[in-house]
Symmetry: C2
Subunit: 197 residues, 2 copies
DNA sequence: CAATTGGCATACGAGACGTATGTGAATAGG
DNA sequence: CCTATTCACATACGTCTCGTATGCCAATTG
């Protein structure tokens, strides 16, 4: 049987990604020594270079993993809303909630862009924006949202506002109070998208 | 006379900041070798460590300089608007225009946050947000903007959306067309802040 | 004019990265 | 069943960059 081989490889990749994710998410990408975190996974840089090419390649893999998890979570939570508009708003607020996680902030919003450039052009990490874009398009077709906007552009801007909201909450002395303020301001901005009666 | 001395020092600092700004803005912070860009200014790392402590310290100085320039420019351009709301909107769009500069994108929005953390907590680099916050407060007093929002929180969210807009335009194949779309979407979001009649 | 400060350079050591090479186990073919 | 080959991963080495400790020379001060 040729299963054990494949399984070992998958396990090695998973261990490297997990170790890197932890290191990147805590001390940050620049401070994370490849020797250190590969060792913490019981491996060496040899394995890293073999599977991911270099440190950036591993960062890409980590980001792809996180993006997948986020998209899953967003769809799962938001799909319970009664109206499509509400679904859309829930999607955004869930996104903000997830962005409160220090690991996600650090990797997706701080180090990620510095290492890999504009997130809009990341290869395997646009599931969240894709979903939001889709909903915006349908909301326009249904006449809920003003029709003259480009959906993807709009969802990118919303993404920017979301991540700022999350950062503000996360770095606040009083997260509860700040959360209320930030979500309120965010929803108010979203109101601008709705067609007036 | 003790002028030449002080002047030489100021010149050295200025040369280091200029060289670093160029290096950080083109190849990026991580790739910029201190030996290289100090040499390009006719100096060595000795001068850098003496004046700025370390690479991060120099990054702070570069950012403070850019922030000052941006605040100056924003106020200058926007102050010509007829109404306060228009002034506010102009402020935002001017901000977006400035953010198109690759050097500003790279230093202020990509590398800066990765190196120094949350921009909201940078010591000498909040002139733009401060000005926007002030205008939002006055617009609320005048009854133009809905009163229940926290001005600083709101301006941070707008900042996030602005920088996304700028990135989207800057990385576009067709900047003219993208610019129209992004500014339109942005203004639409701002409409959400206005009190309805 | 002598003493001292301080701006800046040089020298040295410590990591961190990338590459080239080695090794042992799993797989494939006869 | 045996051999050859592939390939996952480790090791070794050279290079680069950073931080610190030290030294020197010019400008200032008394």
């Amino acid at each position: 049987m040729h299963r054990p081989r494949k399984e070992m490889i998958a396990e090695t990749r998973a261990k490297l990604i997990a170790a890197a994710r932890h290191a990147f998410g805590t001390i940050g990408y620049a401070e994370a020594s490849m020797d250190d975190f590969t060792a913490s996974a019981g491996l060496t840089r040899g394995a890293l270079y073999h599977h991911f090419g270099d440190k950036k390649g591993l960062m890409q893999a980590v980001i792809a993993e996180i993006d997948g998890e986020m998209a899953l979570r967003v769809n799962e939570v938001a799909s319970k809303a009664p109206t499509r508009w509400q679904h859309f708003v829930d999607e955004c607020t869930t996104y903000i909630e997830m962005a409160l996680e220090p690991e996600i902030q650090r990797i997706m919003f701080r180090d990620g862009p510095a290492v890999l450039g504009d997130p809009a052009q990341w290869p395997n990490a646009n599931a969240c924006t894709a979903s939001m874009t889709e909903h915006l398009t349908k909301l326009q077709e249904e006449g809920v949202v003003v029709p003259e906007l480009d959906p993807e552009t709009t969802s990118r801007l919303i993404n920017g506002a979301s991540s700022q909201a999350a950062q503000r909450i996360a770095n606040s002395k009083d997260p509860e109070a700040t959360s209320k303020k930030a979500i309120a301001a965010f929803k108010q901005l979203l109101e601008g998208l709705r067609k007036k009666p």
